[in-house]
Symmetry: C2
Subunit: 331 residues, 2 copies
Amino acid sequence: MKKILNNPADYVDEMLEGMVAAHPETYAQPVRRVIARAAGTKKGKVGIVTGGGSGHLPIFTGYVGTGLLDACAIGDVFASPSAEQMAEAIRLADGGAGVLRLYGNYGGDVMNFDMAGEMAEMEHDIRTTTVLLTDDVVSAPKEEAEKRRGVAGMVYAFKIAGAAAERGDDLDEVTRIAQKTADACRSIGMALTPCTIPQAGKPTFEIGETEMEMGMGIHGEPGIWRDAIKPADEIAEEMLERLMADQPLAKGDRISILVNSLGATPAEELYILYRHARKKLDALGVEIVMPLVGRYATSMEMTGATITVIKLDEELESLLKAPAECAFWRV
Amino acid sequence: MKKILNNPADYVDEMLEGMVAAHPETYAQPVRRVIARAAGTKKGKVGIVTGGGSGHLPIFTGYVGTGLLDACAIGDVFASPSAEQMAEAIRLADGGAGVLRLYGNYGGDVMNFDMAGEMAEMEHDIRTTTVLLTDDVVSAPKEEAEKRRGVAGMVYAFKIAGAAAERGDDLDEVTRIAQKTADACRSIGMALTPCTIPQAGKPTFEIGETEMEMGMGIHGEPGIWRDAIKPADEIAEEMLERLMADQPLAKGDRISILVNSLGATPAEELYILYRHARKKLDALGVEIVMPLVGRYATSMEMTGATITVIKLDEELESLLKAPAECAFWRV
């Protein structure tokens, strides 16, 4: 296991301790495995919480910050946090105007977050709503889009809903905008090498030395095909085609695009992917707004990339461009 | 070769094309393999140029931006750009107040940049100065510190000298401050896995499945020892001890520290390293200012980390904290 760690059982707690120590002006950990804004939630502001497994930085905890999230419950690597931790996150995010639970569609997270919502409503009288990200187009067919997993589309949802909450929108409005953002996002991934969960000590999957897998999920969930690595332009072409088959794009549409590394794939190669995506979208007459190229949602040291497209209208675009700040991203 | 690319010979040009396309408000490529500020150098401002091989994003090209660099000449992966490209970078960086060449101490780069300086002086009457980064403590003994290689200390040099130039300091003053910054930086690296140069198609070195190498350079230059992977706290401890043996730190000193991934090592593990470094420095009574944890100077998909410490005085600290902006970093 080629990782820099101490006892694998301490991986998450030591990571969180280091993260809070490095950025005390941004993050606090008032309860174990719950990260909240160091400054707390403003009184009267709608709170936004998320949660999920560790190992995806900046997702999830990294996006706690101004114009973004208020709190986050974080589990073991690739494992759901407990309902109790999620309820603590809701409590910490509460500024008296209700709390939106905004997270990815994974069985364990949904079960625990539903329970956490009930706990928060019963014990603390906090009104909560839920929006689930289901942006991974490969994880279920379009007719069952509600079964899809949530991946890097979360970044757009955190940003846009976060901006709506920050400007003072009420819970129903923040929830409406978050759902609209989730509905406008489509993502697809591809992987070249796996990562290793510290406590498992072995790679999450096996793949040949010259193979890639198209459509693979961020935890190594099976994709569409596995074959010899294709040229970057062909990879980008197929990923965009599959996204556009699910959500057509036409001349005059405005989108943002996130070309994201799963961890080990370097920025150099993301820009090679972006280059082709840009050419293709330019040729279609689609306007790209605020493209994001980098590591926004990772799986530790996994090699591979994801592409997310969000179709914008004026409302989403202005919220996307609003100021935001966390230790990993500043707009 | 587990990389996302088209023809390996096009890796650098396609990467630069994608980078400029993604961030046209920041970067321009007026001459092939020379990146300059999209807005150009302000008239009357001292220009700062750098240069070196590709494959280290954000180093070198990524740091072109306000409060940072004015232009950069970029070579093939891990190879020096030509003297002509460097001379073009100098010409593009010139705002009429002279140009500082600020880069890492590598044979090919030094030879070509010296030649480029002569060309710029002769052909365009541009006064130039040079400051070399020699922060890698393992690459030569202290008595021959001028022979050391430059690594992630460059990030501090670009930031601090860039702030001095941006506020209007003259060439002699920017050069003095850059040299003072270079003198205050110490770095050390460790590696777990190599990377692959696209045109070579095979890893830069071989290393066992459970081995690490302490002190290895960013191109795979030999380090101090190779052995079974140690716990993160021991790794951080040894790295800091070696840095402090070269530049002692005492109670009351103010430093900044950069815990940097060579590429594949995830943010999670950088924070585990930072956690121990912070504890150790806290115990010594050393004050950490603006710690940097992330990917600031990489070797594509190499696994490993570097730690840089810069000892600050009031002048360096205020310049470090001054505003700066490029596509990879905003202060």
